[in-house]
């Protein structure tokens, strides 16, 4: 406080005197009194000799004085223009008694002198820089040299200026002058700390702070150097940088070294840095212990990385800049063992960033940087464990800052490398140091990068490596509390979804449950959502693995399956469907290979195969109980194919069996998909497998599918699958069809029964009579349809029953058109008449539009369209036979 008040007082006093003297000085100028002007000017300048002011206040005073000196300069310029030789003025001001005022005046005149071109700039500048040595007080000297630098700024004999020439000098004189001024300024600046003092720590600190405030006075010189037009990279390398670095290294001042190195990086151009990297890095290793070399190096590397990114190929590879950086970094780490892990990692991160931008695609460099980190961490861990033996058995763990840096290190190269990351052996070893959650994050980023690159995994080693890297995405952390929480959140969320499904069926309890579930906290929902996204991302991985060799492809899938199986079971719903469906896709390819191989074997092989399959069909019960037995029963090797279709189906069976207890509907659907795939193999040999899959779906239906919505969906899929199948034995097909029809008839709700039984009718009329493998049982078709009509009639209460009649009518029409002999025009005419009656009835009652007019209109349109269709068919001329048949229907 006291100091501040004093400062204000001192400054005010000095300012007052400056103003006073300036006033008299200007008065003398007006009177063309040169002597008086000089006297008052030097009196004014004498105020700068004060030792009472802090740098801040001194700076204020200095600025005020400089304003006044501008008048002096104008006055001198005026004199020169009037014809007064400047040399006279130059001599005259030197008679001033005090050194500081004298030098300020001399510099002011010198500016005019150089500008007048009456003397060579080179000589005058040399003169000034030498004479300025007369002021050895650090702060006063620094400000004086700053004035010199400022006045001479536009009067240097740089290329393209009027001051350049035989006499005036060259750019060499210009930079020599700045260099000398710089080294003098720097010397003064460094000396500030070494001034005699009471050696109070507080004093020392204050002084360091003051020096910080004055650093720009030194740095300005570097800016002037960088602004010289005539300096090229070669000159910079030969003559300028070595001198700067020498000065920096030899001053042995921590503050100066830190500041000046940073200045050099900032001030000079990228090309200059590239050309002189070796010099610069060599100096870096010679700096004082406390200088933050890491920050300096990071500064250069980051700067050049940005430059290289914007100007590809700007850094010639033959310079081996990466090696230079790497050597420098290693040397630094070797010489300064005091760096913390995070500092080491930061440094390596900059190195990696440099390699990534300057040499994209150079895996060796990236691996080296990652390897350095891994080594550093391994050392740290080793040291920690050694200690842990004595102290406490805590596992080695990075702090949050370290985790952040390593995570950044590992994610940085992902976007541009994607799958090539697998070629970096140190990537995986560094990954190990991260905690589970961070590894998962890196894994997710890796997967995304791989998908974005659209690269394919095509060798086993890569598949295994990649899966190993994303293990934290697949699994929960072993014995982690967090993981189980996630699982719970997910389960809760699924319950919520179940509730909504219920709500759809107007189940009030279910609806309220879901509402309750929704409000159990958004963070849990967020977690569950994130988990779902991650698992879906993982599922896509299955389709990134591809090999032209089916055996190899299957191996990929097996490795993925092994990993996915270790996950918590509630994640199977995301990862198993892709695996199962990819295996089924592969079946088609394997089958083609098998067919090609079998083709050589001859035909009779297939016949015996079919016979055996038929005989085993009898023991269906046994097959259902021991599915694997059936699948693995006949191990018949096809030459050249290691993993045959049979093996693939067995894998599918196993996967679905482990999925079924947790996700019955999903497993049922996939069993049916598998059945279709087996049937598509188009060989009798696979009909038993197909049968087994359908049976498994049926068992699941009986045991697990309980709500009516799921039942209808399952039945539709089951009927659809059977209709697609072409290779079942007739007895098997018959048994399955009968069973589905029974399921349909046993549904709880009448409208469901009606619809499903009508759908099931299709099971008994498959294919045209002239097609091989057709199956026609017209009697049961009409049985089903009749039963549907009867059931529809029972749904009187529901508004649906008109719709149901029209639906069934359309089924009748389908079979009539197909030529099913039991579905005759008699039935159709009767049904149409029956529906017409019902409509009339409804119209009489006056109910018609009362019950939901839009729904009624829809049904009307449906019915009208159906009748239109019959009428259209009657007039169809291109199929006379069909037209005749339709004509028999009375509408």
């Amino acid at each position: 406080m006291a100091l501040n008040i004093d400062q204000t007082k001192f400054l005010e006093e000095a300012m007052r005197k400056v103003k006073e003297q300036a006033f008299y000085m200007k008065h003398a100028m007006d009177n063309e009194d040169l002597k008086g002007t000089l006297t008052h000017a030097s009196d004014m300048l004498r105020e700068l000799r004060t030792g009472l002011l802090t740098p801040k206040s001194y700076y204020e005073l200095y600025m005020k004085v400089l304003d006044e000196l501008r008048y002096v300069e104008d006055y001198f310029t005026g004199l020169q223009k009037q014809g007064k030789p400047v040399v006279e003025l130059y001599e005259k001001v030197q008679s001033c008694g005090n050194v500081l005022p004298r030098l300020y005046l001399l510099i002011t005149v010198a500016g005019v002198y150089i500008k007048s071109l009456e003397a060579p700039a080179r000589d005058i500048l040399k003169d000034l820089v030498e004479m300025s040595k007369g002021v050895q007080h650090p702060m006063r000297g620094l400000f004086l040299r700053n004035y010199l630098s400022q006045v001479s700024r536009d009067k240097l004999p740089d290329v393209g200026t009027p001051y350049e020439g035989e006499e005036g000098g060259s750019v060499q004189d210009a930079y020599e002058f700045i260099l000398q001024n710089f080294s003098e300024a720097n010397r003064l600046w460094c000396r500030m700390q070494q001034q005699p003092t009471n050696a109070h720590n507080k004093d020392k600190k204050r002084r360091e702070k003051e020096r910080q405030e004055l650093r720009i006075l030194v740095g300005t010189n570097l800016v002037r150097l960088s602004q010289l037009q005539g300096v090229e990279a070669a000159t910079y390398k030969e003559h300028i940088l070595p001198r700067l670095l020498e000065q920096v290294v030899q001053c042995k001042d921590t503050l100066a070294q830190s500041y000046l190195m940073e200045c050099i990086v900032q001030v000079f151009g990228d090309e200059f840095h590239i050309a002189t990297l070796d010099l610069f890095l060599a100096a870096c290793t010679q700096l004082k212990e406390k200088v933050n070399v890491r920050a300096i190096l990071e500064g250069v590397m980051d700067r050049l990385a940005t430059f290289a990114e914007a100007n590809p190929a700007a850094i010639p590879p033959h310079l081996r800049t990466f090696d230079m950086f790497n050597t420098c970094v290693s040397k630094l780490l070797e010489e300064r063992p005091g760096y913390s892990v995070v500092e080491v990692l930061r440094l390596q991160a900059s190195l990696l960033n440099y390699a990534l931008h300057s040499f994209p695609g150079n895996l060796e460099y990236l691996n080296l940087a990652l390897g350095n980190c891994a080594t550093a961490l391994a050392d740290k861990r080793a040291a920690h464990q050694e200690q842990a033996v004595i102290v406490a058995p805590l596992p080695f763990a990075l702090d949050s800052e370290g985790v952040e840096v390593v995570e950044r290190l590992l994610t940085l190269p992902l976007a541009c490398l994607a799958l090539k990351v697998l070629e970096l052996p140190h990537f995986a070893s560094l990954l190990e140091f991260l905690p589970w959650a961070s590894r998962r994050q890196v894994g997710v980023t890796l997967l995304q990068a791989v998908y974005n690159s659209r690269a394919k995994l095509s060798d086993l080693e890569s598949v295994e490596k990649l899966l190993e890297m994303v293990v934290p995405v697949i699994k929960e952390e072993p014995s982690s509390v967090l993981g189980s929480e996630e699982g719970q959140a997910l389960r809760r969320q699924q319950n919520g979804e179940g509730g909504v499904e219920d709500a759809e069926e107007e189940d009030e309890a279910g609806a309220s449950r879901s509402r309750g579930g929704g409000s159990t906290g958004s963070t849990e929902n967020g977690k569950a959502r994130r988990l779902e996204e991650e698992q879906l991302l993982l599922g896509r991985l299955v389709h990134v693995m591809a090999s032209p060799d089916t055996d190899m492809h299957f191996r990929f899938l097996t490795v993925a399956r092994r990993h996915f199986s270790e996950a918590p079971k509630d994640r199977f719903q995301y990862t198993f469907p892709p695996l199962v469906l990819a295996t089924l896709q592969l079946v088609q390819r394997v089958r083609r290979r098998e067919v090609a191989a079998e083709g050589a074997d001859g035909k009779q092989e297939g016949d015996t195969q079919g016979g055996r399959a038929a005989s085993e069909g009898a023991s269906e019960q046994a097959a259902a109980e021991d599915g694997n037995g059936v699948l693995g029963l006949k191990k018949r090797d096809v030459p050249g194919v290691q993993f045959g279709c049979r093996k693939l189906f067995q894998a599918v069976h196993e996967m679905l069996t482990s999925l079924a207890p947790h996700f019955a509907n999903l497993a049922l659907k996939l069993f049916l998909e598998a059945a279709q795939a087996a049937d598509r193999c188009e060989a009798d040999a696979f009909k038993l497998i197909s049968y087994e899959f359908v049976t498994q779906a049926f068992l699941l239906y009986e045991d697990e599918v309980t709500d009516s919505k799921s039942q209808i969906r399952a039945l539709t899929a089951m009927i659809g699958t059977l209709l697609q199948a072409r290779h079942f034995d007739e007895s098997d097909y018959d048994a399955l069809s009968t069973k589905v029809t029974q399921y349909a008839a046993k549904l709880l709700k009448k409208p469901d029964q009606c619809r499903m039984v009508a759908l099931a009718s299709h099971l008994f009329f498959v294919g045209r009579a002239d097609e091989p493998g057709h199956y026609h049982d017209p009697k049961r078709v009409i049985e089903c349809l009749q039963r549907s009509v009867k059931t529809a009639d029972m749904c009187m209460a529901s508004s649906q029953h008109m719709h149901l009649f029209v639906e069934v009518l359309n089924h009748y029409l389908y079979f009539y058109e197909c030529g099913c002999p039991t579905v005759t025009e008699k039935y159709l005419s009767a049904l149409v008449a029956f529906i017409n009656d019902k409509r009339n009835e409804a119209a009489l009652v006056g109910g018609g539009p009362a019950e939901g007019s839009s729904r009624a209109a829809e049904i009307e349109a449906y019915y009208k369209n159906t009748l239109d269709y019959i009428r259209l068919k009657k007039t169809q001329t291109d199929n006379k036979e069909l037209a005749d048949r339709f004509s028999a229907i009375q509408v």
Binding site: Y451, R454, Q494, G496, E497, G498, V500, E501, E504, E532, E533, L536, L537, G539, R540, L541, V542, H543, V544, Q573, Y574, P577, P578, L581, A582, Q585, F663, N665, L666, L668, K669, L670, R713, T716, A717, I719, G720, L723, Q724, L759, H762, V766, V806, E807, N810, H811, L813, Y814, E817, C818, E858, A861, Y862, N865, T866, D868, Y869, L872, Q876, D878
Partner: protein, 194 residues
């Protein structure tokens, strides 16, 4: 062509990540926002992410439920599950949208015809069979262009034409791809093909 009409993107059975890692690149690069006015999806998106992507493409996105959507607890927005069928009116056309696994036997034109009658639509768009076909029962058959991922359907005459221009002026078959197709069945009785 004076009136270009509104562009409709028809696609379905994406099965990501069940059957594929991503939409084939060639097709994906055409999925640019604000090009189409409508997206009609026959279902089996299977994951939430895909739905979000579709929603970013056009102001009107219509999705119906596929068979795998039913089976996977994760694929449906729990708050608003996709319906089995949907009727969308674009210009003067009534378009029926249905995945098709509910219509038996699968992919059979006679059965799909029945659904078109039920929904009372001019054009019925279905998927499930993973085959690309446009058929017109009893009339000339539009050549089946093979396996494609999707189609862009442009009902002609967004506002200018009379009855003559009600039918689709063209089907722009887009990109090749192994799966995810949409079948369009069109009812003959409604509007004559040109």
């Amino acid at each position: 062509m004076a009136e270009f009409g509104e562009l409709v993107l028809v696609l379905g059975d994406l099965h990501i990540p069940h059957r594929a890692a991503a939409i084939p690149e060639k097709f994906n690069c055409m999925l640019v926002p604000n090009k189409m006015q409508h997206v009609l999806c026959t279902g089996n998106l299977v994951s939430h992410e895909q739905l979000e992507e579709l929603k970013a493409l056009a102001p009107n996105v219509h999705v119906v439920r596929g068979d795998m959507d039913e089976a996977c607890p994760s694929s449906l927005p729990a708050s608003a599950p996709f319906p089995d069928t949907k009727v969308v009116t674009i210009g003067e056309l009534r378009l029926g949208l249905c995945h098709g696994h509910q219509v038996l036997p699968w992919g059979e034109a006679a059965a799909l015809d029945g659904l078109a009658r039920e929904l009372d639509v001019d054009v019925l768009i279905t998927g499930h069979t993973h085959k690309q076909q446009v058929s017109e029962r009893g009339g000339a058959l539009v050549p089946e262009p093979g396996q494609h991922l999707g189609s862009i359907l442009e009902p002609g005459g967004g506002g200018g034409g009379g009855g003559e221009r009600r039918c689709p002026a063209s089907f722009c078959w887009q990109c090749r791809g192994p799966r995810s197709c949409a079948t369009c069945t069109r009812r003959r009785s409604r509007v004559p093909w040109t």
